[in-house]
Symmetry: C2
Subunit: 307 residues, 2 copies
């Protein structure tokens, strides 16, 4: 009867994306110094990966125009990786100059989302990344590929998992080390997680240990989706402290799955992460006053309420 739990991993690699994916979608400009302190607190909590910023055009995302200053302030560590998002070769050059050892590129499974979001077709975005990934590999820099709108698109609605497989294959073929499957608008339900992972891994021969899941909690299903992904063999999960980020397609709604909520569930299940939950709460408590709204993490809210 408890066979559902037999396949669960004993440990999970928690990828903190709050400083990048989270803050990128926050309306209020956060001072550079506070971002740096936030990242330091997340590091002290023991998070193995903290996606720190994006070397994107300052005009495109003003919130992250201080990418160079943020990276300059972070001390290289063997314990914590600080990947950064790079949209193109220009961003890659800036990231390399900043001494970055790990990058991420970002595309989508939805053609219309890619058009709206980066004004390119999926194929154009992939072609754009090819020299970036080649340069990274040459320099020994790790590369993660984000595939967004995997479970639904704000323009197209449902997405054929075959599209996801096609993009996944292209990214792996060009040398990307790890793929993050994103539920950008927070519409996924657990059956979709099964369908997509089943196609990618069983039928598409995508290596399971190179897949991460990235859920937004817009409709409250993120943690249930993670539970299903863990049962399917996934052991890398993206989260943002406090549930930072919001949803640009439903302003005022919840953002990324909260680091606190994930850790509470994993630790309760005896799954190791190496992360100190209470220190993540402290990091969220530090950044909260700068956001202009209360963090949406339920664990965080309960922790604060309980004193």
């Amino acid at each position: 009867m408890s066979s559902a739990l037999h396949s669960l991993p004993t440990s999970v690699r928690v990828v903190e994306v709050g400083p990048r994916d989270g803050l990128q979608n926050e309306k209020v400009q956060i001072p550079t110094e506070q971002k740096i302190q936030f990242i330091k607190l997340l590091t002290e909590a023991g998070l193995p990966v903290v996606e720190a910023t994006s070397f994107v055009s300052p005009h495109a995302i003003p919130q992250l125009q201080d990418a160079g200053a943020v990276m300059a302030a972070l001390i290289p560590s063997s314990q914590t990786q600080y990947p950064v998002l790079v949209p193109n070769l220009k961003g890659m050059e800036r990231a390399r100059a900043a001494g970055v050892r790990s990058i991420a590129v970002f595309t989508a499974a939805s053609e219309s989302f890619t058009q709206h979001n980066i004004r390119a077709t999926i194929d154009e975005s992939l072609a754009n990344f090819r020299p970036v990934v080649a340069l990274a590999r040459q320099e020994g820099i790790a590369v993660r590929g984000y595939i967004s709108t995997v479970f639904g698109c704000p323009y197209e609605g449902s997405i054929d998992p075959q599209r996801v497989l096609s993009v996944a294959r292209s990214l792996l073929d060009m040398g990307v080390d790890e793929l993050s499957l994103g539920d950008t608008i927070g519409v996924a339900t657990p059956n979709q997680v099964v369908d997509v992972l089943d196609l990618l891994v069983s039928q598409g021969a995508v290596p399971l240990d190179r897949l991460a899941v990235h859920f937004h909690d817009t409709r409250g299903t993120a943690l249930a989706n993670v539970l299903m992904a863990l049962q399917m063999g996934i052991h890398i999960v993206d989260v943002a402290a406090g549930g930072l980020g919001g949803c640009p397609y439903a302003p005022g709604a919840a953002g990324n799955l909260a680091t606190e909520d994930l850790l509470y569930m994993l630790h309760g299940m005896g799954i190791q992460t190496g992360v100190d939950l209470e220190k993540v709460v402290e990091a969220t408590r530090f950044i909260a006053p700068f956001l202009g709204h209360a963090p949406t993490s339920k664990y965080y809210q309960a922790a604060l309420s309980a004193g």
Copy 2:
């Protein structure tokens, strides 16, 4: 690989407890007329069970002192059951006089919680219910038994699942039709759901189809716990519209699992409920202005944000 989904039910019976368990824990007194309208809207949404109120002492729970007036206003229906909570024989007599066809009794798996909550031992509370349940059976009135603090207690911490089994057996032995396993303070994680259900059903021979799960979403794990319960064969789930109720042990934190969040997940998974999700949103939207705080349901917040 998708074996995790094979055992899922094709339909789930959604038990709405917002008007009772939800409002009981709301600080602001809601006018009787608004409660009645709220229940009518929930009924129109197609919910098969709406726990309407409690025939408890008005001194103990002032919010529900209008139990008689609420029940008098509800039209008996073959589509919707309106169970009420009764704490003792006196409450049972009032409920019977009001024409109630379905009742619930409430005890706990934690001795200290029962002491604090109803100033009795578990055995005393069970002895107290025996004549209530006997009378109900004599009258053909259905009886549900709530077992609270199944997954943790605010005073004792963790609870031995053997305690849950012992209380469950006592309730079934005295003639209770259905048991609701409650995570009163919202601490459960999915492994506990497996442990408790495994003990009750596989080892304790408690009939699976007489068990409901009742999670509070205080730390965000409620929907993941439901997913695991469904995989264990459960097909009755308690929820409250909007996530009403809060947590008396963490003021300001989330309350019951929100009806909207559950329905969104179930319908996305192709599991039938017979309930119209958007009509539940309308019921929550109706009651929200009377609460003095925003409903915590993430689906509800996203629905309102999206316009």
